[in-house]
C-alpha cells in the first residue's frame, strides 16, 4: 500500500487557483489583474471537477491555471504597475506639500511600461500575429470613428485613425482585399495577408457614443495592446513590402479631409539611395557632369527601380503624390543611382516574391475610372476601388485630393445612390456625358468584387430595385443557398406545389364523389383483404379496373418501399443499442444539430416558396 495522500495537495486542487487567490498572490488590485490578464492573454479555465479545484466548495468562482498565475508573477509589466502605484503616492505627497521641483523630477522619471516583449511572447512568429489581428483591426476602426471625450482622448482617436489608414494603404498597395460584405452592422472586409485571411468590420460613418453599460477601461486596455501589436505588424509588413514605416502624413492634406490620401507610401530603397547619393555627394566634390543630370532622368530611374521591385505599385498613387525623392532630385549624381538599380533588380528578394502577379481579379477595376456621388461613403468606396486597381474621384464635399474632376472624360462609372430624377434643364454636354457613363448603385461594386468579375450594370442601374446582396462568407455545405434554388429547385418546388394544390383541390371538391374515395381506399389498402374490399368498393362505385389497378399498384410499391426502408431503419436501430454510452450521446447530439439545420433550411425554403407563389399570383393579376 502506498502512502496515504492528503487531500488538496495534488491534482486539480493544485493546478487551479481562484481569481481572488490569484490576486492575493500577485499583490495587485483587481483592476491591475484584469489589465494584466488582457495584456498577457490569460483567461480563466473550466476545471473538470469544480469541487475538487475549489477545495471542496462548490461556490461559483472563476479559476485560472496556477501556472498561468506563476507566469504572471514574473511579468515586468506587473512590476511596473507596482512602481506606478508607488510613484503615484510619491507624486501626490510632493504635490500636497507643494514641493514642485521634486514633483517635477518625479514626473520626469515616471515609470512607463512597454509591451514589445508581450507581443513577442504572445505571437512568437509573425504569422501568429497576422492571424490574430482581426479583433485588433475591428477595435482600431471603431475607435477611429469615435468622437473624443473625457474617456477617449483625442490623441488616441488620432492614432487609431492613423493605424486604420496605414492598414488600408497596405491592403491597397498589395492588392490583398478579397471579399466585402455590406451588412446591417457595418462593412465586413476580408483580406488575405501572408496566406492568412484577415476579416474586419468597419461601422458605417455615423457618430457613435460609448454606451453607459460598457466599461471603457477594459476597451482602452485592449486598445493599448492592439495599438502596439498593429504597430509592430505594420512595421514588418511595410518593411517586407519595401516601404517606409510609418508612412509620412501630409498635415495640410489631412486637414482638408483627404483621408487616406494624406499619407504617402515611400519606397524604402528610394530613400536609402537618396541618402547614399547624399553621402556620395559629400565625398565627391560635385563634379561638373553631376549637375547635368536632369530631374526627369532621375525620376525615370526611380520609376524603373520601383517597377522592377514591385510591378504593380499603385500607379495613380505615385502620380498624385510627389515622393520626397522628387523634391531634391537636382542633387542626384549619376554614378550612385546607376549602380544601385542593377543590384536591386538582380536580387530576388522577399518583396519581389510577395508581389508576384496575382489573379486577374486583383486588377478588376483597373480599366475603369469611377466617380463617387455625393451621398455615397467615400472611405468605403475609395478603399474598395483602389484596392482593385481602379481610379476614383469624388466631389470636394467628400474631401479634398480627388485625382479626377467630375467633368473628366475618362470616368466610366458613376456610383450613385439616389432615386432617379429627370433633370429638366440639361445641357447637351451634360446629357452626352451622362450617356457615356454608367450609373450604378454602390452594391454593384461590392458584388463585382465578391463575384470576381464585372457584373452587368443594368441590374444595378440607378433607381432600380437591387438584387439581394448575399454574404460571400457563407461556407457551410448543407446551408440554404438562396441562389441555387432559383432555377433547379425552384421549378421542382413549383411542380410539387402544383401537385399539392391539385391534391388540395381534390380534397376540397371531389371528396364526395365515390370514385375518388374508392381510389383513395385502394391507395390506402394495406393487406390483401383490405385490397379486395377496396376493389369491390371501386367496382361498385364504377371505377374502371385499369385505373383501379394502377392506383393499387402504386400503393403497393409505395408500401413495399416503406417496408424495406423500415426494415433498414429497424436494423440500424438495433445496431444502435450496441453503441457505447459516449458514442450514443455524440450520435444524438450530431443528429440533433443536423435536424436543427435541416429545419432551418426547410423553413427558409418554404418561406421562399410562398413568396414566389405570391409573386406569380401578383404577376398574373397584373397581366389579366
Amino acid at each position: 500500500m502506498g502512502r496515504l495522500r492528503k487531500k488538496g495537495e495534488a491534482g486539480a486542487a493544485k493546478a487551479y487557483v481562484t481569481r481572488s487567490a490569484a490576486i492575493k498572490k500577485l499583490q495587485c488590485s483587481l483592476a491591475d489583474f484584469r489589465r494584466l490578464c488582457i495584456l498577457k492573454g490569460i483567461f480563466p479555465r473550466e476545471p473538470r471537477h469544480k469541487k475538487r479545484a475549489n477545495k471542496g466548495s462548490s461556490a461559483p468562482t472563476s479559476f485560472y491555471y496556477a501556472k498561468d498565475i506563476a507566469y504572471l508573477a514574473h511579468e515586468p509589466v506587473l512590476q511596473k504597475l507596482r512602481d506606478h502605484k508607488a510613484f503615484a503616492k510619491k507624486l501626490a505627497r510632493a504635490l500636497g506639500r507643494g514641493e514642485w521641483s521634486s514633483a517635477k523630477s518625479l514626473e520626469d522619471h515616471k515609470p512607463t511600461y512597454r509591451l514589445d516583449h508581450i507581443v513577442k511572447e504572445r505571437y512568437p512568429t509573425f504569422i501568429d500575429a497576422v492571424r490574430d489581428i482581426d479583433d485588433a483591426l475591428c477595435m482600431i476602426f471603431l475607435f477611429a470613428s469615435l468622437p473624443s471625450d473625457g474617456k477617449v482622448s483625442a490623441s488616441l482617436v488620432e492614432n487609431c485613425a492613423r493605424l486604420a489608414a496605414e492598414w488600408q494603404l497596405y491592403v491597397m498597395h498589395t492588392r490583398s482585399l478579397r471579399k466585402v460584405f455590406l451588412s446591417i452592422k457595418g462593412v465586413y472586409y476580408q483580406a488575405e495577408v501572408l496566406d492568412q485571411t484577415v476579416t474586419w468590420l468597419v461601422p458605417y460613418q455615423f457618430t457613435q457614443s460609448i454606451p453607459s453599460d460598457v466599461d471603457v477601461r477594459v476597451m482602452l486596455t485592449f486598445l493599448e495592446l492592439y495599438q502596439t501589436l498593429l504597430g509592430f505588424v505594420f512595421f514588418k509588413l511595410y518593411t517586407d513590402a519595401g516601404l517606409v514605416y510609418p508612412p509620412p502624413l501630409d498635415a495640410k492634406k489631412d486637414e482638408s479631409a483627404a483621408g487616406i490620401g494624406a499619407f504617402s507610401l515611400q519606397d524604402a530603397r528610394a530613400i536609402s539611395q537618396q541618402s547614399d547619393s547624399a553621402q556620395n555627394q559629400t565625398t565627391n566634390t560635385a563634379g561638373p557632369d553631376g549637375k547635368r543630370v536632369s530631374s526627369k532622368n532621375v525620376r525615370q530611374t526611380i520609376k524603373s527601380i520601383q517597377a522592377s521591385s514591385a510591378d504593380d505599385v499603385d500607379v495613380e498613387m505615385e502620380n498624385s503624390e510627389p515622393s520626397p525623392a522628387d523634391a531634391d532630385e537636382e542633387e542626384f549624381v549619376p554614378h550612385a543611382s546607376s549602380s544601385n538599380p542593377a543590384e536591386s533588380a538582380d536580387l530576388p528578394t522577399l518583396q519581389s516574391l510577395s508581389t508576384l502577379p496575382q489573379s486577374s481579379s486583383a486588377k478588376l477595376f483597373a480599366p475603369y475610372t469611377f466617380w463617387l456621388s455625393r451621398e455615397t461613403s467615400r472611405p468605403i468606396f475609395e478603399f474598395l476601388v483602389r484596392s482593385f486597381g481602379g481610379k476614383i474621384g469624388w466631389p470636394v464635399t467628400s474631401g479634398s485630393g480627388s485625382p479626377v474632376e467630375a467633368s473628366d472624360d475618362s470616368i466610366t462609372h458613376v456610383i450613385i445612390d439616389r432615386p432617379l430624377v429627370v433633370k429638366e434643364d440639361e445641357t447637351d454636354e451634360e446629357r452626352d456625358r451622362r450617356q457615356r457613363r454608367k450609373y450604378v448603385q454602390p452594391q454593384w461594386v461590392v458584388d463585382c468584387i465578391n463575384a470576381g468579375k464585372i457584373l452587368l450594370e443594368d441590374l444595378y442601374a440607378q433607381g432600380k430595385t437591387l438584387p439581394p446582396h448575399l454574404s460571400p462568407f457563407e461556407a457551410r455545405e448543407d446551408a440554404y443557398d438562396p441562389t441555387a434554388n432559383v432555377d433547379a429547385g425552384g421549378a421542382v418546388s413549383i411542380e410539387e406545389d402544383d401537385e399539392a394544390e391539385d391534391a388540395e383541390d381534390a380534397m376540397d371538391e371531389d371528396d364526395e364523389t365515390p370514385e375518388h374515395a374508392a381510389l383513395k381506399a385502394a391507395a390506402n389498402a394495406q393487406d390483401d383483404a383490405a385490397l379486395r374490399a377496396a376493389e369491390l368498393e371501386a367496382e361498385a362505385a364504377g371505377v374502371d379496373f385499369g385505373s383501379f389497378e394502377k392506383a393499387a399498384k402504386k400503393a403497393t410499391t409505395k408500401t413495399k418501399q416503406k417496408a424495406i426502408s423500415q426494415e433498414e431503419t429497424a436494423e440500424e436501430d438495433m445496431n444502435k443499442m450496441m453503441m457505447s454510452n459516449k458514442q450514443r450521446k455524440l450520435y444524438e447530439r450530431m443528429k440533433h444539430s443536423q435536424k436543427k439545420r435541416d429545419q432551418e433550411r426547410t423553413t427558409l425554403e418554404s418561406k421562399r416558396r410562398t413568396i414566389e407563389k405570391e409573386k406569380v399570383k401578383k404577376n398574373r393579376g397584373s397581366q389579366s
Binding site: R122, D135, F181, S183, K185, P482, L586
Partner: protein, 761 residues
C-alpha cells in the same frame, strides 16, 4: 481716504514707531468699522497700494471716519491725554461688552523716556464701567425657543418683562437690507431677539478667520527669539550627561564616504550623467527578426462567426422575419437568442442606419476574450451514421425466431413460469391460480392439467434424457410429476429414480426437509410421485434450477432462514442448505454447466462459489440496482444478468468482475434472460412487452471478444398491469422460443419459432 491715512501714518511714524499697535486697535472703535485700522495698518507697513480695498467700504462711514480722522490728525500735536480721553469715550460709546478689561496703551513717558503702559481713566459715574452695563434681557443662557409663544423674551434686572421687539415680515427684512447701511454687518442676537450690528472686534475676528490669521489680534508670530543658552556668556558649562562623547560625533562616516565615492567614481567614469536624455528605443522595430522561442505559441482565440446572408443590408426576402418571429425574438432573453440581430431590408445603402449595438458587441467580444473560460473541442467532421457499429446482418445469422407461430392460453391466473422438456417436444407451464398445464409444443394442444393448491412458483423439467419428469414448486413444497403417455422404458426409469425400491439410508442428523414418495406400484399421472416438504414458512420457491446431470436441483425460497437456498440430491434423497449465512437476499442461483461451481445472485452482487472446496471464488459487480434474472452460457465462461433497472450485463468470467458489456435497450424492467442450449443465441424478455433475440458467439480463443449482434425484437405482447413477458425459454434443440406472458399469444408458422405461452385474461 488713503492719502489721509498715509499722511497720518507718516506723522505718527515721526512721533513714535511703537505707537501704531494701540492706534490700530483704538481707531476702529470710534466708528464701529475697521476700515481706518486697515488703511492705517497698510500705511504703517509702507504699503500704499491698497486703495481698491479701502474703496470697497461704504461711503458714509468712510466719510465720517475720514473727517474724524482728519480732525484727529490735526489734533495730533495735542496732548496725549486728550486722545486717551477720546479713546475712553469711544469705548463707552461702543459699549463693548466683550472686553472685560480696558485697553492699555503704550506711550513713551515724558519723564523717563521709556515706553509705559497707560490705561484709560475710569470716570466714576454710573455708566463708566462698560462691563457692568449689560443687555436688558437677563434671562441667561436658556434656550430662547421657550419664549417662542410669549410676547416677551425675558426679564430685565428689575424683573420686568422685556418685550419682544417688533419684527417685520420678509419684505421689511428685505427693505431693511436695502435701507440700513449696517444691515450687512449685523447678525441676529438671540437674547435680544433682534438684529444687532457686529462690533468691530467681532468683525476683526471674522476677517482674521477668513484670512487664516491667528484669531487673537494681540498674538505676534514674529516675536524675536530669546536666546537663553547661546551667545557669549550664556553657554552651558556643565554637561547634561556624564557619558563620553561618541566617536561618530567627530569621526567622519566611513560608509557615507564609500557611498559618496561610489557615486563620484560613477560620475567620473561617465556612468551617471545628470539630466541625461532618456535613451529612446524606437517605438516600433522588427520584433520577429530574431529566432522565435521554442515554446509553443498560445492558442489563438477563436474567431467570431462570419456573417451569413441574413445579416446583409439587402437580404433575400425569405430571411426577413415574420411578425411572430419578430415577437418571439423580442420576447426571448438577450442571451438566449440564436441571432443577435433581426434581419432588415433596406432598398439603398444610403438608408442603412447606424447599428446601435456595435460597441456593445465589440465589448462583449472582449469580455469573451479575457473572462470566458475556453475549452478546446475537437470538431468531428463525420457522418453520424458511421458511429453506429457495423455488425453482420441478421439475415446472415439465421436461424432465429422471427415471428409468433403459436399461442395458447391459460384459463385464468397469471402465467408465471414455463419449463420445456429436454427433447423439446413438451412444455409445461404454471400459473398463479395453481394450475399446471402440459402442452404439446408443435401443435399446441393441452395434454394434461394438474391442479395444485396455491400459487405455482416455478416449473422446471429435469434435464436428463433417459427419464422424464418435472418439478413443480408451490408454497413450501416441491412436487415431482411424471407426465403421462411415456414410453414404458422411460417410465420405468423415471419411477426407479423418483421412488426407488430401496430407499437410501436416512442421514444421521434429522433434516428439516422431508422427502415423501408414493410407491412405484401405485403410480398415477394425476398425482406427484415424489414430494419434498421444505421447512415450514419458507414461502413459495422463486426459482428451481437443475444441475446439468439431473441429480441435483437447487431452490430459492423467498422466506427467511439460511437464505432460503436448498440443494436437493435425488439419488440420495437428501437436502442441504449450502450457506449458513448469506449477505443480502438471494435472488437466484445457478449451477455451472461444467464445473462444480455455484452462482448466487443477491440483489446487487453475484457470487461464485466452489462447491467442492466450499469457498467463495469471485464476486461480480453488475452495477445493477436489482438483479432479476441470470443465465450462464453453455460453455460456462460467460454469464448474462438482467436487472429490473432495464440493464443487461454480459460478464466474461475469465476477464474481470466487471461487466464486459452493458446493454440498455429495453424500456422497462428485464424479466428473464436465457441462453440457447445449442445455438449461439440468447433472448431477454421485458415488461415492455418485447423479447429481444441476440446472436451471441463465444470464441474459444481468449483473445477474441464475444460477438453480440442484436437480431430481432419480438413484439406483440400486450402489457397488462405493468407486466410484460415474465419468462422466455428456448426449446433445447430448435431455435424456438417458448415464452410466457400475462397476455394472450397468437400463432404462426412453427418452422421458425414456437411460442408456448398462455394466459387467462
Amino acid at each position: 481716504m488713503a492719502p489721509t491715512a498715509s499722511i497720518k501714518s507718516t506723522k505718527k511714524r515721526k512721533a513714535a514707531a511703537v505707537e501704531d499697535a494701540p492706534a490700530e486697535t483704538s481707531f476702529p472703535q470710534e466708528v464701529g468699522l475697521d476700515l481706518g485700522s486697515e488703511g492705517e495698518e497698510d500705511g504703517v507697513e509702507g504699503d500704499d497700494e491698497d486703495d481698491g480695498e479701502v474703496d470697497e467700504f461704504p461711503e458714509i462711514d468712510a466719510g465720517s471716519d475720514s473727517e474724524e480722522e482728519v480732525e484727529e490728525s490735526e489734533d495730533e500735536d495735542e496732548e496725549e491725554e486728550e486722545e486717551e480721553e477720546e479713546d475712553s469715550e469711544d469705548i463707552t460709546d461702543v459699549d463693548d461688552d466683550i472686553r472685560p478689561f480696558p485697553i492699555s496703551k503704550t506711550v513713551i513717558s515724558d519723564i523717563t523716556g521709556q515706553p509705559k503702559r497707560v490705561y484709560p481713566e475710569i470716570e466714576p459715574d454710573y455708566d463708566s464701567d462698560s462691563s457692568t452695563e449689560d443687555a436688558p434681557n437677563r434671562v441667561g443662557n436658556v434656550p430662547m425657543h421657550w419664549y417662542d409663544d410669549l410676547p416677551h423674551v425675558g426679564y430685565d434686572m428689575n424683573g420686568k418683562k422685556v418685550l419682544r421687539p417688533a419684527r417685520g415680515d420678509e419684505l421689511d427684512k428685505f427693505l431693511e437690507t436695502v435701507e440700513d447701511p449696517n444691515s450687512w454687518i449685523s447678525a441676529f442676537d438671540k437674547t435680544a431677539q433682534a438684529d444687532k450690528p457686529l462690533t468691530p472686534e467681532e468683525l476683526d475676528l471674522i476677517r482674521r478667520l477668513q484670512e487664516g490669521e491667528n484669531p487673537d489680534a494681540s498674538y505676534d508670530p514674529y516675536e524675536p527669539t530669546v536666546e537663553w543658552f547661546t551667545g557669549k556668556g550664556k553657554e552651558e558649562v556643565m554637561p547634561l550627561s556624564s557619558a563620553p562623547e561618541p566617536k561618530r560625533r567627530w569621526v567622519p562616516s566611513k560608509w557615507e564616504k564609500q557611498k559618496v565615492m561610489k557615486i563620484v567614481r560613477a560620475i567620473r567614469a561617465g556612468r551617471i550623467v545628470p539630466n541625461k536624455p532618456k535613451s529612446e528605443k524606437p517605438q516600433f522595430y522588427s520584433v520577429w527578426n530574431d529566432e522565435p522561442s521554442t515554446h509553443p505559441a498560445p492558442l489563438p482565440a477563436p474567431k467570431p462567426r462570419l456573417p451569413s446572408h441574413a445579416e446583409s443590408y439587402n437580404p433575400p426576402e425569405e430571411y426577413l422575419p415574420t411578425e411572430e418571429e419578430k415577437k418571439q425574438w423580442e420576447e426571448t432573453e438577450k442571451e438566449d437568442r440564436d441571432r443577435d440581430f433581426l434581419p432588415q431590408k433596406h432598398s439603398a445603402l444610403r438608408l442603412v442606419p447606424a447599428y446601435n449595438q456595435f460597441i456593445q458587441e465589440r465589448f462583449g467580444r472582449q469580455l469573451d476574450l479575457y473572462m470566458a473560460p475556453r475549452i478546446q473541442r475537437k470538431k468531428l467532421q463525420i457522418d453520424p451514421n458511421s458511429l453506429i457499429p457495423k455488425l453482420p446482418s441478421p439475415a446472415s445469422l439465421k436461424p432465429f425466431p422471427v415471428y409468433k407461430s403459436l399461442s395458447v392460453s391459460h384459463q385464468k391466473g397469471r402465467v408465471r413460469t414455463v419449463g420445456i422438456s429436454p427433447d423439446g417436444s413438451w412444455a409445461v407451464s404454471g400459473d398463479e391460480s395453481g394450475v399446471v398445464s402440459l402442452w404439446e409444443v408443435i401443435v399446441g394442444r393441452e395434454v394434461k392439467r394438474w391442479k395444485f393448491d396455491g400459487k405455482i412458483g416455478a416449473v422446471e423439467w429435469c434435464p436428463r434424457m433417459d427419464v422424464s419428469f418435472f418439478v413443480v414448486a408451490i408454497e413450501d413444497h416441491l412436487h415431482f410429476v411424471v407426465p403421462p403417455n411415456l414410453h414404458p422404458t422411460v417410465l420405468s426409469a423415471t419411477l426407479a429414480v423418483l421412488s426407488p425400491a430401496t430407499l437410501p439410508p436416512q442421514p444421521d442428523t434429522p433434516s428439516p426437509v422431508k422427502w415423501t414418495s408414493v410407491a412405484a406400484a401405485s403410480y398415477s399421472a394425476d398425482k406427484p410421485l415424489l414430494s419434498i416438504a421444505l421447512p415450514p414458512s419458507s414461502g413459495v420457491p422463486k426459482q428451481v434450477t437443475w444441475h446439468r446431470r439431473g441429480d441435483y436441483l437447487a431452490t430459492v425460497s423467498g422466506g427467511e432462514g439460511q437464505g432460503g437456498v436448498w440443494i436437493h440430491q435425488i439419488s440420495r434423497r437428501h437436502s442441504q442448505a449450502p450457506f449458513k449465512k448469506v449477505k443480502g437476499v438471494v435472488q437466484l442461483v445457478l449451477f455451472h454447466p461444467t464445473k462444480a461451481h455455484f452462482f448466487v445472485a443477491t440483489q446487487r452482487y453475484i457470487r461464485i462459489y466452489n462447491l467442492a472446496e466450499q469457498k467463495l471464488l469471485k464476486t461480480l459487480l453488475a452495477g445493477i440496482r436489482w438483479i432479476s434474472s441470470m443465465d450462464v452460457h453453455p460453455m460456462g465462461d460467460h454469464l448474462i444478468v438482467g436487472g429490473y433497472d432495464r440493464k443487461l450485463c454480459w460478464f466474461d468470467l475469465e476477464l474481470s468482475d466487471k461487466p464486459y458489456k452493458v446493454l440498455r435497450y429495453h424500456t422497462r424492467a428485464v424479466r428473464s434472460v436465457h441462453f440457447h442450449p445449442t445455438y449461439p443465441l440468447f433472448a431477454s424478455s421485458s415488461d415492455d412487452g418485447t423479447i429481444q433475440i441476440f446472436h451471441a458467439r463465444v470464441f474459444n480463443d481468449l483473445m477474441t471478444d464475444p460477438l453480440i449482434v442484436p437480431l430481432k425484437i419480438l413484439r406483440g405482447h400486450e402489457v397488462k398491469e405493468g407486466l410484460g413477458v415474465l419468462q422466455a425459454k428456448w426449446c433445447p434443440r430448435q431455435p424456438w422460443l417458448g415464452k410466457l406472458s400475462t397476455v394472450k399469444g397468437g400463432m404462426a408458422d412453427p418452422a421458425k419459432w414456437s411460442h408456448c405461452a398462455s394466459d387467462a385474461a
